[in-house]
Amino acid sequence: MDLITPEYGLFVWQVVVMIILIFLLTKFAWKPVMKAVGEREASINDALVSAEKAKEEMANLKADNEKLLQQARAERDEMLKEAQQMKKTIIEEATEDANEKAERILDKAQITIESEKKQALAEIKSQVAELSVQIAETVVKKQLDNKDEQMTLVNKMLDDVKLN
């Protein structure tokens, strides 16, 4: 029966020891330990989350880079195409322009030539007329002298004209 008869002294001691132990350990051990463990767990979780985030960001960055590269490539192609186009149009335009200018110059030249020709013809005509008048004058002056002489004169004059 001794085995299951409680001893008050031991009971009191156990209660006292337990209360002191709970108080001491709570204040100096459980609280700091629990806090440190909790903080460590939180920091590990944070680290994991941020690692995951970094990974995601990395992937995003990579995708962004890829996209940028593709865009750049597309832009370059576009630019090349545009340049080609521009070159073509510039050449075309230049050719057209040159043609136009050449044509205009030719036209102008034609017109000038025409007017020069007309002028020259008019001058010739007037000279011919003058010459004719001179010839006629001379002929008239020597007309009556000799028939033969007249003829020679005319021929001579005509030769002169030819020489002119």
């Binding site: 002294g9 031991l10 001691w13 209660v15 100096f28 459980w30 330990v33 460590r40």
Partner: protein
């Protein structure tokens, strides 16, 4: 006795938990309990003049005023411990060695004008004018003496204090580590930290819940480590049987009871006194059962711990005692390996009982603070 324990245990378990871990624990306990019943029967039947196994076993598992290591009588090696008594004439104290190893009430110690004797590790103060203790074996009562309030540092108290000091040293060391670095500690401290996390994640949070567990962590941690370390130290040769003492387990069970009573919410009391959702005539009947249940829970806790630890000690002592009962050294070939096996098993039981006590305390507290969903 053990059948009653088992009944309480099994009912408790059926009602509260179905986890496989618990089932294993229960089976182990039942095995151990039946072992101890068998052992006790065995030892009681054998009566030998030269060797009394019951006395030997009782001596080993009971508390005493001195810490006996080896030898017998005057030649024994015993660490004297202070005897502190609260008598009618006030507080008095002397060392246990003053009894000169006498536990038959023959050696009288005088202190503070009073005469004291140690009768089977119970201190009696002799009535005024008496010179020797007269004891009635039939009624187990002293005829001319009474028992003072004995708050001696007995073997169990000393062991308890050693456990407490060890715990404080161990965990203050662990706490100190965190002041230096935030990293996980190494070696022994890492084991301690793992166990702290074990109590938190496997006991407190699942049983009490994420919201309220923190408040009960100090008690659960303290009780877990105290019981475990006491159990382990109790397995050492010559050590005290602290957790196998009913006074100790009563105190521990009382802590759980007080925590339940103080922290129980309205829902809990309603479920105790006026269970909702059942026909009104049944309610008073159930209230009686539930009120009983409030007290049987911690009682089951205290008996379980006491019975398991004591039973383990009794088995080991019985197996060793077998050698002396049969007076053949040959028996040692069987009983020593068997005792060794039981000792190793006790290492497991030491943890298991600490775990179960803490686990069930957490479970009962969890039940008391749980927010019920109203249906």
């Amino acid at each position: 006795m053990h059948e009653i324990f088992e009944l309480i245990l099994s009912q408790q378990f059926m009602a509260t938990h179905k986890s496989s871990k618990i089932t294993v624990a229960l089976m182990l306990m039942l095995i151990l309990n039946s072992f101890s019943a068998f052992a006790q029967l065995d030892t009681e039947e054998v009566i030998d003049d030269s060797f009394n196994p019951t006395e030997m076993i009782m001596h080993h598992i009971s508390d005493s005023h001195g810490w006996h290591f080896l030898g017998e009588g005057e030649e024994s090696v015993t660490l004297p411990l202070p005897v502190i008594l609260w008598t009618d004439k006030g507080l008095t104290s002397f060392m246990s060695s003053e009894f000169h190893h006498d536990v038959e009430g023959e050696y009288v110690v005088e202190s503070n004008g009073q005469k004291f004797v140690n009768y089977h590790e119970k201190i009696y103060v002799l009535n005024e004018g008496e010179e020797a203790l007269e004891f009635d074996e039939e009624t187990h009562a002293a005829l001319n003496a009474n028992r003072p309030f004995d708050i001696s540092i007995t073997k169990n108290v000393a062991s308890m204090l050693i456990t407490a000091i060890l715990l404080v040293l161990m965990f203050l060391g662990l706490a100190k580590h965190y002041k230096k670095s935030k990293a996980a500690p190494k070696g022994f401290k890492n084991i301690l930290e793992t166990l702290v996390i074990f109590v938190r994640d496997e006991i407190a949070i699942p049983q009490i819940g994420e919201k309220k567990y923190l408040k009960f962590m100090p008690f659960l941690l303290t009780v877990f480590f105290f019981i475990w370390l006491s159990n382990l130290l109790g397995l050492l040769p010559g050590a005290a049987n602290v957790t196998g003492n009913i006074s100790v387990t009563i105190a521990l069970g009382l802590f759980t009871l007080v925590l339940i009573l103080v922290n129980a919410n309205k829902d809990y009391w309603q479920h105790v006194f006026w269970m909702p959702g059942i026909p009104t005539p049944v309610k008073p009947i159930l209230a009686v059962v539930e009120i009983l249940g409030v007290f049987t829970k911690p009682i089951a806790l205290m008996i379980r711990l006491f019975a398991n630890i004591t039973a383990g000690h009794i088995i080991i002592l019985s197996l060793i005692g077998l050698i002396f009962i049969l007076e053949t050294a040959g028996v040692a070939a069987i009983s020593v390996p068997f005792a060794l096996f039981i000792t190793v098993l006790e290492l497991l039981v030491a943890f298991l009982q600490a775990f179960i006590f803490t686990m069930l305390s957490a479970l009962f507290i969890g039940m008391a603070v749980q927010e019920h969903e109203h249906h």
